[in-house]
């Protein structure tokens, strides 16, 4: 529904549109115009929409988030602390840094990139490779999707284009490090990740907020530091995994505890393509992640997720797997741990088209509620139009198993430690699936920082 803030975004858009990248490209101008119209007519998604029924974004609607038009000068971005930045970078990865929705050449590290591999800012790509952008942008998701996508399409200030040419197997992962340093701003990035035929790559999307902590130091907005800014991330990544290619995509969402986050990942998998996504939803006050994948013949799709909510966090994960052609395999496992008054949402849809015979699909969602006020809403959906398929789904929402607690106690572990051990073990199953050592350790560290109880020891894992 259009509201006051919708009108303000639309009104201010006129002033800003000349500065957005790709002004000389009529097709993009048209796309942005259509998106703005769609957003203008609908506003942000409403809980009346089926796919938003558990997530009310009126808190976003009530605020105004200013676009950041320049990564360095405005608003007055302080220089990123070198040590802090180092702590955020993954060792042994190509590091692409985006600050407040803009690529930063100064902070990025792309030395030794194999010839033919393209990692450039979207602003650059629109100038230098407009045909490539035109070929892919809006092809994995379009303005027909809900209006956060339209919002992103109208407003995106920058983003990253990754193109890995055919048969190229990247030895190192690529990290897209998204940093927001200011309060009351929006970070709207649009990424394209294209893995050409028989190529292989690993990409990590990291989202982190910076703020002024209680002690006056510019610090990552981790819980307890007091360095939390309210801002809005609206990021869209379109992914194309071509024939027999492989992409492992990780998302480490550690936004500030006051931040709003929408992240959409839209994937097209060609024949025999393999795509795995590992989604760690840890930060943000209200965070929604969409992962949609279209599966061609004999392709494989794995979606793993962990959402860990404390205090009043609302963490929504929405997946859709479209089995379009025969013999594709999909595996999905999402786990939630919710404490205090946190709320976790999982909506998973698997759609098997009439043509998609011999589909093999399994979807699971498990939730652990640690407090009486925590809530988990889960809705797995199977829509099957083919007749020769193997599809299953399972859902659990519950507390820790008392039998397990007693078993540990009978082995001399005290009750509180036993509870922490079991909770941690539950979450850690997802962390353990991370194949990149440095990322594994970083995610583990983040899980430990956010973990509600005291006394958790790494050695338990």
């Amino acid at each position: 529904m259009a509201t006051e803030s919708t009108s303000r975004y639309v009104a201010e858009y006129e002033a800003i549109v000349p500065i957005l990248p790709g002004q000389n490209l009529p097709w993009l101008q048209q796309l942005r115009k259509d998106a703005l119209e769609k957003f203008s007519a609908n506003g942000f998604p409403s809980p009346r929409e089926e796919e938003w029924r558990y997530t009310n974004v009126s808190a976003i609607e009530k605020k105004w988030f200013a676009p950041v038009l320049d990564s360095v000068s405005k608003p007055n971005l302080q220089a990123l602390d070198a040590n802090w930045l180092k702590s955020q970078r993954l060792e042994d990865a190509w590091s692409v840094v985006l600050v407040n929705g803009h690529y930063s050449a100064e902070y990025s590290r792309l030395d030794g990139l194999p010839e033919g591999v393209l990692i450039v800012s979207m602003a650059d790509a629109l100038e230098k490779q407009p045909q490539m952008v035109e070929k892919y942008l809006g092809q994995a998701v379009n303005n027909q999707e809900h209006s956060f996508v339209a919002f992103n399409t109208a407003w995106f200030t920058d983003g990253i284009l990754v193109h890995v040419p055919a048969k190229q197997i990247l030895a190192k992962p690529i990290q897209l490090l998204n940093i927001v340093t200011e309060a009351d701003v929006m970070a709207t990035t649009r990424n394209l990740v294209i893995i050409a035929e028989s190529a292989e790559a690993q990409v990590i999307e990291t989202f982190v907020g910076l703020g002024i902590a209680r002690d006056g130091v510019y610090a990552a907005s981790l819980p307890g530091t007091g360095a939390a800014n309210a801002y809005l991330t609206a990021a869209v990544t379109e992914v194309f995994v071509e024939q027999n290619a492989q992409l492992t995509l990780y998302k480490m969402q550690t936004e500030s505890e006051k931040a709003y986050h929408f992240g959409g990942i839209y994937v097209k998998q060609a024949k025999d393509a393999r795509f795995s996504h590992h989604n760690f939803a840890l930060g943000g006050l209200l965070a929604r992640c969409d992962i949609h994948a279209d599966l061609d013949q004999a392709s494989e799709c794995t979606l793993n997720g962990l959402y860990l909510g404390v205090k009043r966090q609302h963490l929504d994960n929405h997946t859709r797997i479209n089995h379009l052609k025969p013999r594709a395999i999909s595996r999905e496992m999402y786990k939630g741990v919710l404490d205090d008054r946190a709320r976790g949402v999982f909506q998973g849809r698997v759609i098997v088209a009439e043509d998609a015979q011999k589909t093999d699909s399994q979807m699971n969602n498990r939730n652990l509620l640690l407090s009486d006020d925590a809530e988990a809403d889960t809705k797995p959906q199977l829509e099957i139009y083919a007749d020769d398929v193997k599809c299953g789904h399972g859902v659990t929402v519950g507390q820790l198993d008392e039998k397990s607690i007693f078993y540990l106690q009978s082995r001399s572990v005290d009750e509180e430690t036993a509870r922490n051990m079991l909770t941690f073990a539950f979450a850690n199953e997802m962390v353990d699936k991370i194949k990149i050592r440095s990322l594994h350790d970083k995610v583990l560290e983040q899980v430990l920082v956010r973990f509600p109880q005291e006394g958790v020891e790494k050695e338990w894992l």
Partner: protein, 253 residues
């Protein structure tokens, strides 16, 4: 070591144990036999401190201490070990970690320093070999995906590492084939000592062929209806539980 006097226990207000008297001294092995529903497992749970069991009368004294309000982990640290009838699977916690955490909390309780990592590994590997287990089991999650026999061996492994004073074996023989039973029995026999007592809860006489008890007690309808030496088990095997059940005074009256 353990003195049970006139013990009455209820579960959800339903009386299960109705006046148990039992004394177990260090070095002794007691077998508690009885038909299904006689209260055997209740007794083992009450001794290990599982919640949901209310002692309505009587007392349990372990090494001079009243057990009634002692938390399960304190009992464990004081040397009471229950080998579960159905060992619990704990995904995400490795077997070796639990062994180490358990051993260290016992040591801490007794004012001893944490076990040296190398000494610990040597100890564990030795015990694993004794129980004819694959070392790989150490690095797997506790009991996860283990067969029935592997789970039972794992219980005995934990017991061998923790070296408790009072070992309660709850239907340890159930689900074991004859080879596994022998291995488990050898493990238990190797732990026999004058400082340690065993309580074996079992439905069948079979286990007692391999672990010879000093005393056999028959539990029926929540009471010990007959006590005797190892020959009582053989007599039971021959005559069946109906023989003792009907001789139970409460039922006759």
């Amino acid at each position: 070591m353990l003195l049970i006097e006139n013990l009455h226990v209820s579960v959800a207000d339903k009386p299960i144990l109705k006046g148990i008297d039992l004394e177990i001294k260090a070095g002794e092995i007691h077998a508690i036999m009885g038909p299904n529903g006689s209260g055997k497992s209740t007794l083992s749970h009450v001794l290990s401190g599982k919640s949901g069991y209310e002692i309505t009368q009587g007392s349990i004294t372990y090494q001079g201490q009243d057990l009634t309000d002692m938390a399960p982990e304190i009992r464990a640290r004081e040397g009471i070990f229950l080998a579960f009838q159905y060992p619990v699977e704990i995904p995400g916690v490795s077997n070796i970690y639990l062994l180490k955490a358990a051993l260290n909390s016992v040591r801490k309780h007794h004012g001893q320093p944490e076990v040296d990592a190398m000494d610990f590994l040597t100890l564990v590997k030795h015990k694993v070999k004794m129980l004819e287990m694959d070392e790989k089991f150490l690095y797997r999650a506790v009991n996860e995906g283990f067969s029935g026999g592997e789970k039972k061996r794992n219980e005995i492994l934990q017991m061998a590492i923790l070296e408790p004073k009072l070992c309660i074996l709850d239907e340890t023989d159930s689900g074991l084939d004859i080879d596994a039973l022998k291995v488990v029995a050898d493990g238990v026999n190797s732990l026999r000592s004058e400082n340690r007592a065993f309580v074996m809860i079992t439905h069948y006489q079979r286990l007692l062929d391999y672990i010879k008890p000093d005393f056999v007690h028959v539990l029926a309808h929540g009471q010990i209806v007959k006590s005797g030496g190892p020959e009582l088990a053989l007599e039971l095997e021959e005559k069946g539980y109906s023989w003792v059940e009907t001789s139970q005074p409460g039922v006759a009256a």
